[in-house]
Assembly symmetry: C2
Homo-oligomer: 162 residues x 2
């Protein structure tokens, strides 16, 4: 269960631009900063420009800048636009599903509900909450009595105390 790298890069491009709102940044500079290929970032920037989130200007003095206020860019919307595969269980994809369980299978509904809870959290945050200089975000969740997911050590989740 993982987010596509493409989404990861998309978020980092937006955060980089949000932290430098008073200037145009270049793809080369972002590629160097993040240690990523320019080609990868070019596709990300083009897609974000197509969504109306970035403005790109060519030529000398050109570059990339945010077109919207960071506070108006919901992280949930960014992830929805970037991710192409929400197939959490096979039957989500009805065109290829070989599942012979009932079409009213509750598995599908349960994972749909869980996905909604996931996006409810992401919808509660904007790019402004992620920017370096912003105040503490409001989406810090109250400590739960439920245990954190057990993940292998190299994927350990770090949870800040609320």
């Amino acid at each position: 269960m993982r987010l596509a790298e493409y989404t990861d890069y998309t978020l980092r491009v937006l955060m980089y631009c949000a932290d430098r709102r008073d200037q145009r940044v270049t793809i080369g500079e972002m590629a160097e900063h993040h240690g990523l290929s320019k080609n990868h970032l070019m596709k990300v920037v083009n897609d974000l420009a197509g969504q109306g989130l970035l403005e790109t200007t060519r030529g000398r003095g050109g570059g990339v800048r945010l077109l919207k206020e960071p506070g108006d860019i919901r992280i949930g919307d960014v992830v929805r636009a970037s991710e192409s595969d929400f197939r959490l269980v096979e039957c989500f994809d009805e065109s290829t599903s070989a599942c012979t369980l009932s079409s009213n299978c509750r598995l599908k509904h349960l994972f749909g509900t869980a996905l909604q809870a996931y996006f409810d959290t992401l919808d509660g945050a904007t790019l402004a909450d992620l920017a370096a200089a912003s105040p503490a975000p409001g989406w810090v969740k109250a400590p739960s009595s439920r245990p954190l997911p057990i993940v292998r050590p190299r994927h350990r989740l770090v949870r800040r105390s609320a």
Copy 2:
């Protein structure tokens, strides 16, 4: 963003066994029922036996049966044990992350919180809730004012009215 097929099969094996608690089922029968390879299901069954969820008996009259009450098997626990990759953004994996943003990056925290919300939903359901003959599950979420994720048509989420 997708769940591993392995987790999908794991859940289907458990559901199949839960719906036939009064009998031993065979891997061959489950493979045929789901249209999956026996080899795949053998690995799933062995892992579930190792976790103490299934009992396997060899020989004539042998087969597979649930060792725990379906109501005692939390779906969240099954998914945690089955999924190996919770790397939702690159920096979750500190051993390979090339991210040069602050180590206190809020992206990481936001996705950790979203993942927790996802598991909170799965922890609210047990195998009994997914079984065919059980009463309506308690994890039906109240309709939210937030839009559902925009997914490509063949991955459309179907949301049952609460």
